[in-house]
Symmetry: C2
Subunit: 389 residues, 2 copies
Amino acid sequence: MLNAGQYIPVFTKELNERVIPFWERHSPDREYGGYFTCLLRDGQVYDTDKFIWLQARQVWTFSKLYNNQEQRQEWLDLALLGANFLEKHGRDEAGNWYFSLRQDGQPLVQAYNIFSDCFASMAFGQLYQATGTERYASIARTTFSRILERQDNPKGKYNKLVPGTRPLMGFSLPMILCNLCLELEPLLESDLVETTIDHCIHTVMDTFYDDESGLVLENVKPDGKLSDTFEGRLLNPGHALEAMWFIMDLGERRDDQELIRQATDRALFMLDYGWDKQAGGLFYFLDRKGYPPQQLEWDQKLWWVHLEAMEAALKGLRHTGDERCAQWFVQLYDYAWPRFSDPEYGEWFGYLKRDGTPLHTAKGGKWKGCFHVPRALWGCLEVLKKLPA
Amino acid sequence: MLNAGQYIPVFTKELNERVIPFWERHSPDREYGGYFTCLLRDGQVYDTDKFIWLQARQVWTFSKLYNNQEQRQEWLDLALLGANFLEKHGRDEAGNWYFSLRQDGQPLVQAYNIFSDCFASMAFGQLYQATGTERYASIARTTFSRILERQDNPKGKYNKLVPGTRPLMGFSLPMILCNLCLELEPLLESDLVETTIDHCIHTVMDTFYDDESGLVLENVKPDGKLSDTFEGRLLNPGHALEAMWFIMDLGERRDDQELIRQATDRALFMLDYGWDKQAGGLFYFLDRKGYPPQQLEWDQKLWWVHLEAMEAALKGLRHTGDERCAQWFVQLYDYAWPRFSDPEYGEWFGYLKRDGTPLHTAKGGKWKGCFHVPRALWGCLEVLKKLPA
C-alpha cells in the first residue's frame, strides 16, 4: 500500500516552490521574447539559442498550469511571451517548424525535426484552451495535419537513408501522437481523433512490441519484426515507460481496462529490464542483445526517464491496484529525489553518470527545458490525489 | 631525457603481436569482401554494417604496413579485400562516397559525410604505392579533387543550417587535408600540393587559433573570430593534438623549424588544458568558457585522443628537444597503457569513463576500427627509433 498522503506535500512543494519559480525567474527573454533554456545551476544564462522543442514545451507548461492549476495572469503572460515569439519566428515558408532560432528569432537550423511540430501543436492547442483565441487553435490544427502528412518521411529531404535498403519504422512519432491526439481532442473532429487513437494504440502496442522478449522496441521492420542492427536492437526504457502512461490515458479515455492492464504489465517489465542492478536508476539506452549501444551516453541516468517512470508506475497503480507499481514508485522516488532535485536553486539536474553523480549541474540546455519536471510532478500529483489516502 | 630504448620493444610487441593480428584474424569478411569492424572484446562480430570511414582506414593501414614495414603478401591481400569491396560498392552515382553500407555492399546511408571521401582517397593513394595500379591512383586523385570542390559546403543538401544566420567554419576538414596532401603527394601535381599545404597551414595555425586563450578551436566565424555559441565554444583536445603533429610533419617536409616550434608549443598548451586534473587522461570535449558541452560523452577518455597525443608529444620532442614533451609522453603512456591496452585479446579498448574504467569492452564499432592504434604505434615507433637511445 502506497502512502499517497506522504508524497502529496513533497510533490506540491517541489512543483510550486522549486520548479515553476525557477523558470519564471530565469527563463523569460524580455528583450526578444521567448525563453532562455540554457541555464546553469543557479539560473544564469550560458547560451541564448532558442530550440523550438523547448520554446513550445514551455508555452505548453504555463498554459497547462493556467488551465488546470490556477488561472494566474502571470502564467498566461509567460505562455504568451513564448507563443508570440514562436508565431512570429518559428515556421519556415512551407509552415514547418524550424529546429532552432537565434536569440532574436532568426532561423538557425532547418525544419528537419518533426518533433518541433509536435510540441508546437501541443503548445498552441493548450494555449487555445487558455485564451479561446481561434488563431491559436488554427495553428495547432494546421500543424497537426502537416504532421500527419509528413509522418511517413518526417525528415523529408534531410533523410540520409538510402531508400529501400533497410526500411525501418521509428517509435517516437506514433508514441507522441498517442499523447498529442488527446491533447488536441477539443480542437479536432471526433472521427479524426478516433482514427488516430486506433492507429496509435495498434502501432505502440502491437507493431513495436516484441513478443519474444516482452520489450518495446525503438525501430522495427515494416512488418513489425526485429531488425538485428544497431537501430533495431536499440531500447530506450524511458521512452517505453512514457508511452505506457500515454496508453493508460487512452485506456482511461476509452474505458478499456484490458488495454490499461497490458500497458501496466509492459511498464513493469520495462522497469525491471531497464533498472541498473549495480548502481540503481534506469539506463538511458540498452541493446536488445546486450551489445554496446552506439550512444556513448547509454549508461547515464536522465531526469526525464525517472519522471516518466514515476508517472507510469503511479498511473498503473491507480488503474490496476497492482502492488508492484507502488513498490516501483517508491524505488524510483528514493533513487531520483536525492540525486536530481536541487533544494538550493530549484529545478532538477538533468544528467547523472552511471554512479548517480551529476555529469554537470546545469538546469537546462539544448534538450532540457521547462517541461518534463513540471509535467510529471503535476501528473503524479493528479494521481496521488485520487489514490486512497 | 626520455629513455626511448625502453619503449621500442613495448610498442613493437603491441603493434605486431597484439594489434595487427587482432584485425587479421577477426575483421575479414570472406563472404562479401570488406571488413567487420563491430567486434567484441575477443573479436566476435556483433554487427555486420560497413562504415566507409573504417573500411577505407583499414585499407590504408594494411597498405601502409606493406609499404613501410614489410612487404607481406597477406597484408596486401587484406588491403585488396577492402579496396575491391569499396571500389565496387562505395560510391554513389556522382562519385561521392557513401557513409555506410550493408554487409553485402548495398548502400545504407548517403554520401553526406566528406570524411568518407578523405579516408577513401588516403586508402587508394597508399594502395597505389603498394601496387602501382594506376586505377587506384586515379580513384585517389578524383576523390581528392571532389573533396576540394565540396569543401565549402561538405554536407551539400544534407546541411541543415539555414544559410547566412550563423556562418561558421569547421576545423576537421582543413586539419585532415594537412595530412591528406602529404599522403597523396606522390600522386598530385606539385603546384596543387604546395598550394594546399600553404592553405592548410594558414587555416590550422592562424584561422582556428585563438590568440587570447592559446587554444585551437573547432568552429570559428568566417573572420576567424570566436563565436560565443555551443559550436564556437567547443574544444576537442584530441583533434587539436592530432592536427599539431600533422603540422609538425608539414614543418619537417618544408624544413620550417619555427612552424614546428609553434605547433609543439600549442600541443603542450592543449595537453595541459585538456588533461583531467582529478582523474587523469584527456577529456573528449570541453567548452571554451567552462560551460556544459552539448556532448554528454564530454568527460570520457577515448583511445584515439591518447594515441594522437603521444604521437604529438614524441614528434615535438624529436624536433625541438623540449623536455616537457618527454614528460608528457611518459604521463600519457602511463595513463593509457594499463587502461586501453588488452594483453589478453589484443587491440585497445576504445571508451573509458571519466574515472578510467571501460564504458564497454568492445574493440570496434561504428567509429572505431583498424586505424588509430596501428597508425600511432607505428608513428611513435618511427620517432622513438630516431631519438637518442
